[in-house]
């Protein structure tokens, strides 16, 4: 995993630490949402690095979620579709539910979402 991707994850965890918790639930959603925003950038950075390692030029890297999906389908086919399903799931969990909508409040679920993101990233950029 590159230093850049690591830093995104570290920054996300640092922001998350600032959120207050009560009875297993985060009560300060702005830190949780912001942390998911950083974590998602780390996921995209890892996908970018994976694509660069496959020979894609920096100027041709995807810019939208649909393009990310298309590129992963093309260059991640060795994973038999698992990579796409995981990325799709992370997009909805981390970006939509976590960052955009602030739906993830349970400490346990937030922790699992972070773990899932890290497993995905490690699979892409070892």
């Amino acid at each position: 995993m590159s230093r850049e991707v690591k830093r995104y994850i570290e920054n996300a965890k640092e922001i998350l630490k600032k959120a207050r918790k009560e009875g297993g639930y985060y009560i300060d959603m702005k830190y949780v949402k912001s942390a998911f925003g950083c974590l998602y950038l780390g996921i995209l950075k890892a996908v970018d690095e994976f694509l660069l390692s496959k020979g894609i030029q920096e100027k041709n890297l995807p810019k939208k979620i649909d393009e990310y999906m298309r590129y992963l389908k093309k260059y991640g086919s060795v994973y038999n579709g698992k990579l796409i399903r995981e990325f799709d799931s992370l997009y909805y969990q981390i970006h939509i539910a976590g960052y955009y909508r602030g739906f993830l409040k349970s400490e346990k679920i937030v922790k699992e979402a972070f773990e899932e993101a890290e497993i995905f990233i490690k699979k892409l950029v070892r």
Binding site: E4, Y8, N11, I15, S34, G37, C38, L41, K45, K63
Partner: protein, 140 residues
Amino acid sequence: MKKKKNKSLTLLSDEAIRYLENAQEVLSKSTIEDNRYIDVKYVKSACGIAYLGVLKAVDEYLLKKGLTKKELPKKVEEYIKALKKYAGVHNGKLIRQFHDIYDELHIAGYYRGDLHSVGAVKSAINTAKDFIEKISKGKN
């Protein structure tokens, strides 16, 4: 890090203020060379956080207009629709500004990392601040 409260932000909602302050704190971690932010990850993160502040201010405005928490928009298209319905009659400028903020702060700044110059980043965050100020005043 000791927080300096910006006087002009005191009119805004507490939560929107905190988002903007947090964004500025994250942005300050990036080194600047030749008037450009060197570390794009802090710029992207800061833009993402500032955009959340904009959405928070819109949410508060809509709650003030009588929407329940469950009825709050969930997508950018829904935000634009709600702004058109509740603020558009009096203020088309506000909606255009929201469009610009979405394109510049969320897409260019956060998602694509296309903002590099100090001027461009500051201008995007200032536009967000200006929008929050306007919509916060509008809810009274």
